[in-house]
């Protein structure tokens, strides 16, 4: 419950595609632990596309260069016009504006602009392919990696966290590759180009323009630093508020039942006010950056206008150059701010990449042996020889266990808590490796089997059913994709599921929705039984739990299970006394550990935990059974 909700939150606030990334200046960014190493690995993913990337770089450079040269050329046209009228005013006889020359200049400019636009488009166009394909490869790598990771990994990590790495972090990387990389190239070249162009116009004026540079940097850094404190506070309060809302809404029934609505609202108001305080300060201070920067830009603009004007009157530079210079100066602060912004984005991207690589570096399952075996006609004999196992080295769950199970026998697992059954599944199917001793099937150590072959020997019908978003037919045929329609129906009939399936509007073609909430819990169990019938395994692991299923369906499930169990080796998480009594061996588990084993009579004679349990659970009924 909690997991799914926090998942939602993680997805709701992802950066997502769109033009507005990085607009909020001063937001704190997540930093990578090993920036360089991660960056190198990320770049390695770009390697296959290096030719395209070279083209992108070249296109970016050409496009930017053209757009940088243009104001200077445009200035020449202005100069010619200006000189023309100055000449006219001073009354020279053949004074005329040289429109032919202006025309030439403007045509040249049109060409340059067209080319600049073309290369700009080309650069983005190619980058779209490179960025998305890179992320495509990474996403596939991560997914394949997930398939090779041991179950232990999934049991320790929250699903929300893994999911977030496969989607949010990937998305972040994709958007950065798409937008920020070329932006960075362009910004740097623009900056350098502008400086060069400014210098060719006037060294003194460039110096003036440079005066504004440290001021701009200082303002950005200082203000951003101050706002970061408030953004952090805002983030903290937001977290607290989300926590409170989640709790109160999740426990709404309790809040109402105990009449605590007013208390809850009062607490909300407290956090809300603190959030407001931090929030408006963060917004205000980060909102100051833009006006301050634009004032600095304007300050430089005015200085250039004045100094430029004086230079023109003194005849040191032509007027068109002043116009060009103004254009350059106005563009000047933009790439600086942009670079600072991109630096932040790249940091957060590398942090994302690091999280993805962390996942890629997780230790994988031990590979199958070269000469791994496959059983042709399994009998289903299982032995545990001196098996010792624990999830952590500190706690031993199974201590030196020896059991021998023959074909057709039933082992009942009994105990108050459910941790035992997962352990059993984990070990038999080799989701986890034993710490000591060995488990054999038909006399062969399960570590000598091919994993796929080993798991194919088992069938699981557990209480927490898992079905996927697809048709009922596909879900039943999950165990054997090659099964024919008739075989699927026969399996459903054997599982007593055929009847309810046929009452559904689309029958076997009914789509199960995402949570499979369009059929009941009991019906889901019938489907998993049908799935197992079709797979026809030699060994069964069953869960006999009764909760959440109505009585009628419960009876159906019992009948279907009994039919399924015939002729196979069965491990049953038992709740019914009859199953327990008739079992060939009972494993008594408590708090996840096997504490007693034996037959019903043996265990009662031991007068231990099992005897105690048996009496507290069933004693009340005994008078009836004895009377009958």
């Amino acid at each position: 419950m909690r997991g799914s909700r926090s998942e939602q939150r993680e997805h709701g606030t992802g950066p997502g595609p769109g033009p507005f990334r990085g607009m909020q200046m001063g937001m704190p960014v997540q930093k990578a632990k090993d920036f360089q190493g991660t960056l190198k690995r990320l770049l390695a993913y770009l390697k296959p596309h290096r030719i395209q990337l070279l083209v992108v770089c070249a296109a970016a450079i050409i496009s930017t260069l053209f757009s940088i040269v243009s104001p200077k050329i445009l200035g020449q046209a202005t100069t010619i016009i200006f000189e023309g009228i100055l000449a006219k005013r001073s009354g020279l006889p053949d004074a005329a504006t040289d429109f032919a020359r202006i025309g030439q200049i403007l045509l040249l400019l049109t060409g340059l602009y067209l080319l600049s636009a073309l290369f700009g488009y080309l650069q983005q166009f190619i980058m779209a392919g490179v960025a998305q394909k890179t992320v495509y490869d990474m996403r596939n790598d991560v997914n394949s990696k997930l398939a090779r990771l041991p179950l232990k990994f999934f049991d320790c990590k929250s699903h929300g966290d893994i999911l977030s790495r496969v989607t949010n972090d990937m998305d972040n990387i994709g958007t950065t590759l798409q937008q920020s990389l070329t932006q960075l190239i362009t910004a740097v070249i623009t900056l350098a180009g502008i400086v060069v162009m400014m210098l060719t116009i006037s060294g003194w004026m460039t110096l003036i323009a440079f005066v504004t540079l440290p001021a701009a940097l200082l303002v950005t850094v200082k203000v951003a630093k101050r706002s970061q404190k408030y953004f952090a506070a805002q983030q903290k309060e937001l977290g607290e508020m989300n926590g409170h809302v989640e709790e109160m809404f999740g426990g709404h029934l309790i809040v109402k039942a105990f009449g605590r609505e007013d208390k809850s609202i009062a607490r909300f108001a407290q956090v809300n006010n603190r959030l407001y305080d931090a929030g408006w300060r963060a917004q205000f201070i980060s909102g100051m950056i833009m006006p301050l920067l634009s004032f600095i830009t304007n300050f430089g603009y005015v200085l250039i206008c004045v100094v430029g004007a004086i230079f023109v009157t003194r005849g040191r530079i032509p007027i068109g150059d002043v116009q060009a210079f103004i254009q350059y100066a106005r563009q000047f602060t933009h790439p600086i701010v942009q670079t600072a912004n991109i630096a932040n984005i790249i940091q957060s991207t590398v942090a994302s990449a690091e999280r993805v690589f962390e996942l890629l570096d997780e230790t994988e399952e031990v590979r199958d042996r070269e000469d791994a075996r496959v059983l042709r006609n399994p009998k289903g004999e299982v032995t545990f020889e001196n098996v010792t196992f624990g999830y952590s080295s500190a706690v031993t769950v199974i201590d030196n266990m020896n059991i021998k199970v023959k074909t057709g026998q039933t082992i009942a697992i009994v105990g108050p808590t459910g941790a035992g059954k997962t352990t059993l599944v984990n070990l038999l199917m080799r989701f986890y490796e034993v710490n000591g001793g060995k488990i054999t099937v038909d006399g062969v150590d399960i570590r000598d089997f091919e994993r796929g072959g080993l798991r194919g020997l088992f069938g699981m019908v557990l209480q927490d059913t898992w079905l996927f978003n697809g048709t009922i037919r596909d879900n039943i045929a999950y165990g054997r994709a090659s099964a024919s329609e008739a075989e699927v129906v026969r399996a459903a009939e054997a599982a007593r599921a055929d009847h309810f399936i046929r009452t559904l509007p689309d029958g076997y073609a009914t789509m199960l929705n995402e949570e499979a909430s369009n059929i009941s819990q009991g019906q889901k169990q019938l489907l998993t039984i049908a799935r197992t019938v079709l797979a026809d395994p030699a060994i069964l692991i069953l869960d006999e739990a009764t909760s959440n299923v109505d009585t009628r369906t419960e009876l159906l499930i019992q009948k279907a299970m009994a039919a399924l169990m015939k002729g196979r080796t069965n491990f049953v998480i038992a709740h019914r006394l009859s199953t327990i009594r008739n079992a060939d061996l009972i494993l008594v588990m408590n708090e996840g550990r096997v504490i007693e084993k034996g037959t019903h009579t043996q265990l009662l004679a031991m007068d231990g935990f099992y005897a105690d349990l048996y009496r507290s659970q069933f004693s009340v009924l005994l008078p009836y059974s004895e009377a009958g």
Partner: protein, 575 residues
Amino acid sequence: MLKLFRYLKSYRLVVAVTLGLVLLQTLAELYLPTLMAEIVDKGIVNGDIGLILQTGGRMLLVAAGGMVSMIVASYLSARTAVGFGRDLRSHVFSRVESFSLNEFNQIGTASLITRTTNDITQVQTVLLMIIRMAAMAPLMCIGGVIMAVSKDPRLSLLLVVVIPVLGVTIGVIAVKGIPLFKEMQVKLDKINLVVREALTGIRVIRAFNRTEQEKQRFMEANYNFTDTAIRVNRIMAALMPVLMLVMNLTTISIVWFGGIRIDSGHMQVGDMMAFIQYAMQIMFSLIIFSMMFIMIPRASASAMRINELLDTVAEIKDPAVAVNPDQEKGLIEFRDVTFSYPGAERPAVSNISFFAGPGEVTAFIGGTGSGKSTLMNLIPRFYDVDSGAILIDSIDVRQMKQESLRAKIGYVPQKIALFSGSISENIRYGKEEAGEAAVVLAAAIAQADEFITAMQDGYAAIIAQGGANISGGQKQRLAIARALIRKPEIYIFDDSFSSLDFKTEARLRAALREDTTRSTVLIVAQRVSTVMHADRIIVMEEGKIAGTGTHKELLERCTVYQEIVASQFSEEEIA
């Protein structure tokens, strides 16, 4: 979205002042090129350095003025937008707290959370942008046009050509791009779905050797997404280059036509230079404006969800004149009660009548969906009955104040919710003023004292959100202690023993019996062993009472009960 802005009412004046300041700043920004034109046309042409310096000084003042008004505007807008968010949030939260379970089920808890948190943040962010930027864009555009026309009306005709061209370009790209953006989101959700299924079903997938097929499924989803993403980005790739091209060609045209007009003496060079800058400002404002159009739909979806919530009114209200029961006993009577969930075809429970008195244990048993929990939810008035009545000490629950009704009840729900905080705080949630001794006593009866004292911090041990750090059985026992500490007239245990092992449950029931001798106790259970000792067992099937009596009586004459017992114990045990 506009509907939500009614919450801006108290900020009306501030918003007006802010917009005024933004206007000032825009004017300052527009005035600068005019002053520059003066420097060129008067200062440079006449070689008047004094005038140049003087005008330069004026420009600095104007720029400084612009900055000051923008900073003040930023301050005001931050307080307005964030304040608006705060107000809206507290409205929404209070509203949700007033909801009954009906409204909760309708909208869904997860969605309610998103609406109260993310959606409001989204709207707040957009409001801030609207006040700061979107207001500036039209002002800048109109101001720019006015200035341009005042400089040279004929040259302004150029703008008449360029502005529609720009508009159409942005429009075409938006029309092509936006549906693809949506498609991309759908395909991203598909990737999410496949991964989530693979994570939750990992044991099954591996057991059935379906890893390869799952990989195929993922790759397909991934490929589909990538394909769309590339198409979107390739379309968007055209946006900036085309916009820049239009702007640059405009500049070239201005220089060409401006040159002609200057040559013929209709215009001055400084004016032309200023004109170029106006044109740039107009076009930038258009681009900003168009970006707002991408931003607003996202926020308006959020706004719609918030509005929907604010328009929902809690169905269950306190009566105008509440009756306070003068006697406190806890006698419950269901009088021909029928209730259906909204939108359901059949009633969840129908024609239910029974008494449950103080000092008695009344138990309910039946399959899922038989209506047991529904009955329990009707007593504290989480829902209202459709017909019939529920009376407590002969007073209809609808005539009481919800608060005084619920104060009578110690409720232990099916789905346990604990809150982050210490164990002691959680137990005290039932009765805030309870002392430490009462907390320990309640815990002891609930069989929780043992595991609590075994914890490192005992009663001060902190429970994580949702009680993630303790087991299901421990949670149930804490929830029981929380109800016990109230010493209420009525106890409701809605399937509250399911996570306990048999031994603990037996001990707990024994302890409860001693402590609740004067209260009315209602127990809902799935296990026969839990209910068989009750004074009265009510067997539910498909929303109706299928039988009432003691274990022995029911075993003899109630078929449904016999079936239930049979499903839990084998023939030989009951025979």
